[in-house]
């Protein structure tokens, strides 16, 4: 079992190094390579989590980096990891892919993430509840699932979720809690 967590919190040296790479990539696309090497795997994992076929994940990851290189001139370094910007592009590419191919996203659920969610809901983890939640999650609204997915299955902080979705950290937190609340209500309805 693997919970993929991108390395969001970086020290100043890493960030400055990243800034240098970004500036170089603005001058020459070939200079994007170290950023590609650093983020290829996290982006591929991020994309694949939302797909059923690995070949589609390769294409969309490649397209994500292509877009990133082409748009790098517009990227403004604000002292935050570059990853959020890449994930945002990846989400756009995924949406474009689903729209064009008339396909839908895949839902990938891992037990450790669900256990974490149950604990956060203030309940004890038991088999029955695990099964109920696992069955209920795919029925959530896609926006709610995205928040829960990033929080519990991808171990992203509210700050990072906020950066990816271009909302404030607080907003990310509030929306995530609301998503969990809605999940709780759905579960309670089922219990009755």
């Amino acid at each position: 079992m693997q919970v993929i967590a991108g390395k969001y919190h970086q020290n100043t040296t890493d960030l400055l190094q990243e800034k240098e790479w970004i500036e170089a990539a603005k001058q020459h696309p070939g200079a994007f390579r170290p950023l590609y090497d650093k983020y290829y795997e996290p982006v591929l994992q991020f994309v694949y989590r939302r797909l059923s076929r690995i070949d589609d994940a390769y294409d969309i990851t490649s397209q994500t980096f292509l877009q990133a290189i082409q748009k790098i001139q517009d990227y403004e370094f604000r002292g935050l990891p570059f990853s959020s910007w890449l994930y945002r592009i990846a989400l756009n590419e995924l949406n474009g892919f689903f729209r064009k191919s008339e396909k839908f996203r895949a839902v990938v659920i891992e037990t450790p993430g669900v256990e974490l969610m149950i604990k956060e809901m203030g309940s004890e983890v038991d088999e029955e509840q695990l099964t109920q939640i696992m069955n209920k999650l795919p029925l959530l609204a896609s926006a709610d699932f995205l928040l829960i997915e990033m929080r519990f299955f991808e171990s992203k902080s509210f700050k990072e979720i906020g950066d990816i979705l271009e909302i404030t950290e607080n907003n990310a937190k509030v929306r995530s809690y609301r998503a969990i609340e809605r999940l709780k209500i759905a579960l309670q309805k089922e219990m009755r």
Binding site: L44, S52, I54, S62, F65, I69, F104, A106, T111
Partner: protein, 574 residues
């Protein structure tokens, strides 16, 4: 939420699966092809439906192979000419091969001091060379005067004459550049003609702001790698389209101001350094003078151990006041009395670490001995020395004051001179700037697109967009001269009027022509004459067929670019 499927505890990706999709070079290739793909949609697809374009592209290579077979089966004089062309084709295509010699488009030159920021106006371009950016073969900064050579190629005629290959292989597909123009920049040490080419510091690129005749914004920047004989994609071009002449002038003016400010800054630093150096030098003179201050005479202690030596006051001018001085041994506890009874071959005197102390160095074969001392006087000698010291000290003080006054005057003079030089320098630069801006105003009234290159290598650069070869009707070209006789040629080019793309068809037995374009064929005969077919009448058959085309051969000898332009400009240049 609609979903394609739910995966519970799906196996994570293996390292092999992760590595399989990793290919940065493929992404870079896609980037370099993007412009071409975009262009394909707007220019090359005229009158075609997208459904049959793809197979054509995929089979271009196959068509070329079939063409060779057709060539072998067709037996007429015209095709023998094609065979000759085939033999020369590789030379024409794979390397720079100017059909009328390399000198026909002359370089414009400028001589620069590479140690300071430079802004050159050569032709229609502005070249900014950062200080210390030019390196020799060993990677060392060049300090001698450097000769910068620069020339531009804008039109189809100029590109044809340059002989620079204009094809670009993109993922195995041969494409041709639609050009927004090219330039070539070279550098050599000025007084070493024929010396090896210099290089550019990778962190201090030369900025070439280059005025392009094309206002289009879909071009890329490429560098021609002469070792590999291929174009290398560098970056997407960012054309700065000037909306008005004043924008253009502002752009140029800002560049000039930036260089001017940098130069003033550098010059200011240089002047400050000069003044500092001068100040330091004068300070040293004062210190030297102060070291010559006469030492105040000291009377010997009553129980002192004294050594009488006549040291040369040339080396110890501070002892001048001491007639009859002696050296009193310091640190008596460590003094070895027995040494005083020995006979020594030589005694050297040197200054001790502490001011007013001296070291006496005694030597005799097999032994030496050092004693720390201070100069002292005894009885009458002391009284006389005191009197002399008063005189010497007054004279010394006077000398020092005089010297300090001299130094202050000199320093003020140096500072004033430097300030005046700086003011003059700034004034000169301002005048230069005004003159250049005024000149630009007159010169540039039409060209409004600026393309900026960060040049990290000397050589040939272009601002182009790859295009597919023309498509439509495939022909076997049969070239005929004015008299209807087969025309031999060493070079053959196709131009679609209205586009700045020169397709080199040299050596191709057959090729496709876009029936909707206004096509012009240009041939260079083996004797170096230009032949033109202004009209290409395509055969009625839609399948590949012979296309007999009459060329007008110009007997004019080609020695200058003007000769070429007289014949070609009105026909193929935009």
């Amino acid at each position: 939420m609609k979903n394609e499927g739910v995966h519970k505890d799906r196996n994570p990706l293996s390292q092999e699966e992760i590595a399989k999709g990793k290919n940065f070079d493929a992404i870079l290739n896609k980037i370099s092809n993007t412009s071409a793909s975009q262009e394909l949609g707007t220019n090359s697809l005229k009158g075609k439906s997208a459904s049959w374009i793809k197979p054509i592209l995929y089979t271009l290579g196959l068509v070329a192979s079939i063409a060779v077979v057709v060539l072998l089966l067709t037996k007429n004089n015209a095709n023998e000419a094609v065979i000759n062309e085939e033999q020369t084709a590789q030379n024409v295509e794979i390397s720079i091969n100017p059909p009328f010699g390399d000198e026909i488009i002359p370089f414009q030159t400028a001589f620069i001091n590479p140690n300071e920021d430079q802004l050159l106006d050569i032709g229609r371009s502005q070249i900014r060379i950062p200080a210390n950016s030019i390196l020799d073969a060993n990677g060392k900064e060049v300090t001698e005067q450097v000769k910068i050579s620069f020339r531009e190629f804008h039109t189809n005629s100029e590109i044809l004459v340059s002989g620079i290959p204009m094809h670009y292989d993109s993922s195995g597909t041969r494409m041709y550049f639609e050009s927004a123009g090219m330039f070539e920049i070279k550098a050599q040490i000025a007084d070493k003609p024929g010396s090896e080419e210099l290089a550019i510091h990778q962190e201090k690129p030369i900025q070439v702001s280059w005025t392009s005749k094309s206002n289009d914004t879909y071009f890329n920047q490429y560098f021609y790698n002469q070792d590999k004989n291929e174009w290398e994609f560098i970056v997407k071009d960012r054309a700065i389209v000037m909306n008005s002449e004043s924008d253009y002038l502002d752009y140029k003016r800002n560049n000039k101001l930036a260089v001017l400010e940098q130069r003033i800054l550098n010059y200011d630093m240089e002047l400050s350094t000069k003044v500092d150096e001068q100040e330091l030098k004068l300070q040293e003179e004062i210190q030297k003078l102060e070291a010559q201050a006469p030492a105040k005479p000291i009377e010997a202690e009553l129980d002192a151990m004294l050594v009488a030596i006549d040291a040369d006051t040339k080396y110890f001018p501070e002892l001048k006041a001491y007639d009859g001085y002696k050296f009193e041994v310091l640190d008596l506890d460590r003094f070895d009395q027995r040494k005083a009874d020995l006979e020594w071959n030589s005694i050297d005197v040197k200054r001790g670490n502490k001011k007013g102390t001296y070291i006496l160095h005694f030597w005799r074969p097999g032994e030496d001995y050092e004693v720390l001392c201070k100069p002292v006087l005894v009885g009458e000698d002391f009284e006389k020395a005191q009197e002399k010291y008063e005189e010497l000290f007054v004279s010394y003080q006077k000398g020092v004051e005089q010297k300090k006054a001299e130094i202050r005057t000199k320093l003020a003079q140096v500072k004033a001179e430097e300030a005046s030089r700086k003011a003059e320098f700034i004034e000169q630069r301002k005048k230069q700037l005004e003159a250049i801006v005024a000149l630009r105003q007159a010169e540039y009234s039409a060209s409004m697109t600026m393309r900026v290159f960060q040049v990290r290598n000397f050589g040939i650069w272009n601002c182009d967009a790859p295009q597919y070869l023309p498509q439509g009707q495939e022909v076997i070209l049969v070239k005929l001269d004015d008299m209807g006789a087969p025309l031999m040629s060493s070079n053959l080019y196709l131009v679609e009027k209205g586009r700045n793309t020169l397709y080199n068809m040299t050596g191709r037995a057959s090729f496709e022509i876009n029936p909707e374009a206004d096509n012009v064929l240009i041939a260079i005969t083996p004797t170096g004459n230009i032949a033109i077919a202004d009209e290409v009448v395509l055969p009625a058959e839609k399948e590949k067929a012979e296309c007999k085309t009459n060329f007008k051969v110009y007997s004019d000898k080609i020695t200058t670019m003007q000769d070429v332009q007289n014949i070609l400009s009105s026909r193929i240049d935009m």
